[in-house]
């Protein structure tokens, strides 16, 4: 008997040159700092309450909490060292808390046990690993006092150049399995949905995950078929906020597992350095949240590049000198900036540009099913315009949604319509492709987030 396969047709695989080879290479330079970015955790206030503003801190020692979520849920230091800088953005919002790394890591010790749901819950809450989960709708950090209706985990990542998740946990198998046990305890009988790829092979460690309340489904099709939001939409819709779902990525279970096996917060992970501006795209094994300079030294083909923590669709731009990889990201993408003019570039194609439009050869090839890898850049390829083209977003959204109508509802702030058109079902990553393909260059993800925040504050 086979598991159900859900075939998705709509979507687009943006293929970029410079996939990371599945091997660990030594860091070109010893990492000096790590940082935790409160902005990675949606739902908390811009200025969280700090337990410590300076001085020594151990890995896993409480660092800050949020006033709304309460002191029960803490965020902890990703590594041990000295708090050297608190970087602030507009309105004194805290953007990064930077820790100068100790030579020898010193871990804050937790007394944890896998015995009961309650012990797992409190261990995760106090150790700072709770906030790795994301709650749908809205894509926020789950509240400590809420109970979801299901937990979702996507076992593959279809984002451009994203690493194979099995490789990310390779070498940490025991930790991963311990983390999986913790997840099952936390679920406390609630269904855990695992979404597998029907197009690429999975390794046994993923396929063998099992339990009474575990349900496995396979998905085939182009990106965003690996997005957990798409899985939720097809298996357990959160339409109109009917349900709450927690999601987590398999690679974070490794950290959960370490907590329960050793009683420490050890955020050692693998980070892929990818794309065609990198000389030797491969993996590093280092601290999550590491300073990106340590990864980039000697690896860049040119200076005029954009360094992205994450992938090109949903990642964030970081400074190649002072920036840090987000704790939640396992990849860094480096692509050239596109800030050069192109003579009649709107009609003459000077170099191959990825597109779903068949006005480009690349679009024709894509529709013929011929995979081609591209060198991409950050050019907008046009100017911001009002919506003109229709049906474009639908082509890349394998969900029963009207993304363009949802965006229009957000723009006119029609809360009822937003709800009816499914604002509970999507977060930025699910509509990132709409933004990529948009002829009018609409900032889809930005509008969506503003809409979600508005909706959340008005309706709750």
């Amino acid at each position: 008997m086979a598991y159900p396969v859900i075939k998705l047709k709509r979507g687009y695989d943006l293929l970029i040159e410079g996939e990371a080879e599945e091997k660990i290479i030594p860091l070109p330079e010893n990492p000096t700092t790590v940082a935790i970015k409160p902005t990675d955790f949606l739902g908390i206030r811009p200025i969280p309450k700090l337990f410590k503003k300076e001085g020594q801190i151990k890995a896993g020692e409480p660092l800050f909490y949020d006033k709304d979520y309460g002191e029960e849920l803490t965020w902890t230091a990703p590594a041990s060292g000295e708090i050297v800088e608190i970087r602030r953005g507009p309105k004194r919002r805290i953007e990064e808390i930077v820790i100068l790394l100790d030579k020898e890591q010193d871990y804050y010790e937790y007394k944890v046990s896998l015995d009961s749901t309650e012990s797992v819950r409190s261990a995760l809450l106090s150790s700072g690993l709770w906030a790795l989960m994301v709650r749908r709708p809205y894509g926020l950090v789950p509240r400590p006092d809420e109970k979801p209706d299901a937990i979702f985990m996507s076992m593959f990542d279809t984002h451009p150049l994203a690493p194979r998740l099995e490789f990310l946990i390779k070498g940490y198998e025991e930790d991963f399995l311990a983390g999986w046990e913790a997840l099952k305890k936390l679920a406390d009988g609630l269904p855990i949905f695992l979404g597998y790829s029907a197009d690429r092979p999975h390794e046994d460690i993923f396929l063998s995950l099992d339990g009474d309340n575990v349900r496995k489904y396979f998905f085939s099709g182009p990106h965003p078929s690996g997005n957990v939001g798409v899985h939720i939409h097809h298996l357990f819709p959160t339409y109109k906020g009917a349900r709450k779902v927690w999601t987590i990525k398999p690679q974070y279970l490794v950290w959960w597992g370490r907590l329960f096996r050793k009683g420490i917060v050890d955020l050692t992970t693998k980070i892929a350095l990818t794309a065609h501006e990198v000389k030797n795209p491969a993996f590093y094994e280092t601290f999550a949240g590491v300073n990106v300079k340590a990864l980039l030294k000697g690896q860049l083909k040119s200076d005029h590049v954009r360094v992205i923590s994450g992938n090109v669709l949903t990642g964030t731009k970081i400074d190649p000198e002072k920036g840090h990889v987000s704790i939640k990201d396992n990849m860094v993408t480096v692509i050239p900036e596109g800030d050069f003019p192109e003579f009649h570039g709107w009609i003459i194609t000077h170099y191959p540009k990825p597109s779903i439009s068949r006005t480009f050869l690349s679009g024709v090839l894509y529709h013929l099913g011929i995979p081609v890898k591209y060198k991409v850049n950050t050019k907008l390829h046009g100017e911001l315009r009002p919506f003109v083209v229709t049906g474009e977003y639908e082509q890349v959204t394998p969900m029963d949604l009207y993304p363009q109508h949802l965006l229009k509802a957000i723009i006119v702030k029609d809360l009822d319509l937003m709800e009816q058109l499914g604002i509970h079902e999507v977060i930025e990553e699910d509509l990132a492709l709409c933004e990529f393909v948009c002829t009018s260059k609409t900032p889809v993800q930005k509008i969506l987030r503003e809409g979600i925040e508005l909706f959340r504050h008005e309706v709750g």
Binding site: M1, T314, P341, F343, L380, R385, T390, Y402, G422, K446
Partner: protein, 422 residues
């Protein structure tokens, strides 16, 4: 070499020209005019910057989209130019063969068509730029397509001042007061035609306007008639078309398009070439075209089945090649801004236009052609159609989700089969 040249042009624009148009410059009010020219010459060096936002964007943009519609307009435009000359020489009995006097015919056509196009582009372009300057928004690309479209749906004898007035009216009241490209309710080009149709009916309908005679009006051949196939068929149906003596109005004559009519609408073949490009590139939505085609065929066959008069008995496929049906179907109904925006809505919208076009054409004695009015009606109905489609979507999803809630509790899950993910 080329690169050096364009680089120095870019540098010249940035250092010598642009400063005059930016804040503090002599022509700071005209900034958007400068920007329009700069972005026409160069794809600007703008990069992605939104947070959150994608870092890479598709190569597509609105200028590229519009220029492909313009490319698709070239076949009917070239054919229309030749046909103006062809009809002209046919009327005076010279070069009556199709292949004769190609260059002369083309030149006569150019003499008629170019002034019309130039007037439209000048008037429309000026208004666009004026609005851009006053309202402080960029000059958008919409008129790149609207202009040639207006020219192609005019009769060849239209006075230039009327063209200018109609264009000014359509661009101002059809588009700019709503906020410009992307905001208009009805198709701007069709609005220009509708304006003339109701304001100056004598110049837009009848037997006198479809053939350019110029100064040869007194040299006409015996039996000359300027009636279009639509007018002939409206009078006496299939028999009248067959026995029309001045020129042959057979199915294939109308398919190839050597018949009188609005400049660009006559040749179904040329329009099909354009449609091929639009469909291949995906610039126009095939659902609308298919919907309208089905709607037209459906209504025409219905008339064939219950023929109360000669016109209703006209074989259904004639309607597809007569008048503006094909042109409206390919270039007008598919305008993404004014058509329905949902996939289901596009089918309904297209079908509705097809049916209404035929109803007006066949059943209404006052108007021999119904495509223009049908599309305008479709345009104003499009939001309603979308509204209904979305409403039914909302109802369906609400029911679906309610039903799914029950399913959550079913716990069993079957073992994985080795091959299921291979």
């Amino acid at each position: 070499m080329m690169k050096k040249l364009t680089d120095s042009l870019w540098n010249f624009l940035q250092t010598k020209v642009k400063p005059h148009f930016t804040k503090g410059g002599k022509f700071e009010n005209l900034y958007y005019l400068y920007e329009a020219i700069e972005t026409f010459l160069f794809l600007p060096p703008k990069v992605t910057h939104d947070k959150p936002g994608t870092h890479v964007r598709d190569g597509m943009n609105l200028k590229r989209l519009m220029i492909h519609v313009v490319f698709a307009l070239i076949p009917p435009m070239l054919f229309g130019i030749w046909n103006i000359g062809h009809q002209h020489y046919l009327a005076i009995g010279e070069y009556t063969g199709l292949t004769e006097g190609f260059i002369d015919k083309f030149l006569v056509g150019l003499k008629v068509f170019l002034p019309i196009l130039i007037v439209i582009m000048a008037v429309g372009g000026t208004i666009e730029v004026l609005f851009a300057i006053i309202r402080k928004h960029p000059v958008t690309e919409g008129f790149l397509v609207t202009g040639p479209l207006i020219a192609l749906i005019m009769p060849p004898t239209i006075p230039l001042w009327m063209v200018a007035v109609a264009t000014a009216f359509a661009v101002t009241f059809g588009k700019e007061i709503f906020g410009g490209t992307g905001m208009n309710v009805v198709n701007t080009a069709l609005l220009a035609r509708a304006f003339l149709f109701f304001a100056y009916p004598a110049h837009m309908s009848g037997d006198q306007v479809w053939i350019y005679l110029g100064d040869a009006a007194d040299k006409l051949v015996d039996g000359f008639s300027g009636a279009t196939p639509l007018a002939v068929a409206a009078e006496g149906g299939y028999q009248a078309l067959k026995s029309f003596s001045y020129q042959s109005y057979g199915f294939w004559d109308m398919f190839f398009g050597w018949i009188p009519g609005s400049i660009g609408e006559t040749s179904t073949l040329a329009i099909l070439l354009g449609a091929g490009l639009l469909l291949h590139t995906g610039v126009a939505d095939w659902r609308i075209m298919a919907g309208m085609l089905l709607g037209g065929i459906f209504a025409a066959i219905l008339f064939n089945l219950f023929p109360a008069n000669e016109y209703m008995a006209l074989p259904w496929y004639y309607h597809l090649v007569m008048g503006g049906f094909a042109f409206g179907l390919v270039y007008m109904a598919t305008d993404p801004v004014t058509s329905a925006s949902t996939f289901t809505g596009k089918w309904i919208y297209g079908f509705l236009i097809g049916v209404v076009a035929l109803i007006i054409r066949v059943l209404n004695p006052a108007y021999p052609e119904g495509v223009m009015l049908a599309i305008l009606l479709g345009n104003v109905s499009a939001p309603l159609i979308d509204h209904l489609v979305i409403k039914s979507y909302i109802n369906r999803r609400s029911r679906q989700v309610a039903a799914l809630t029950a399913d959550v509790q079913t716990p069993e899950q079957k073992p994985v089969k080795e091959t299921s993910h291979a």
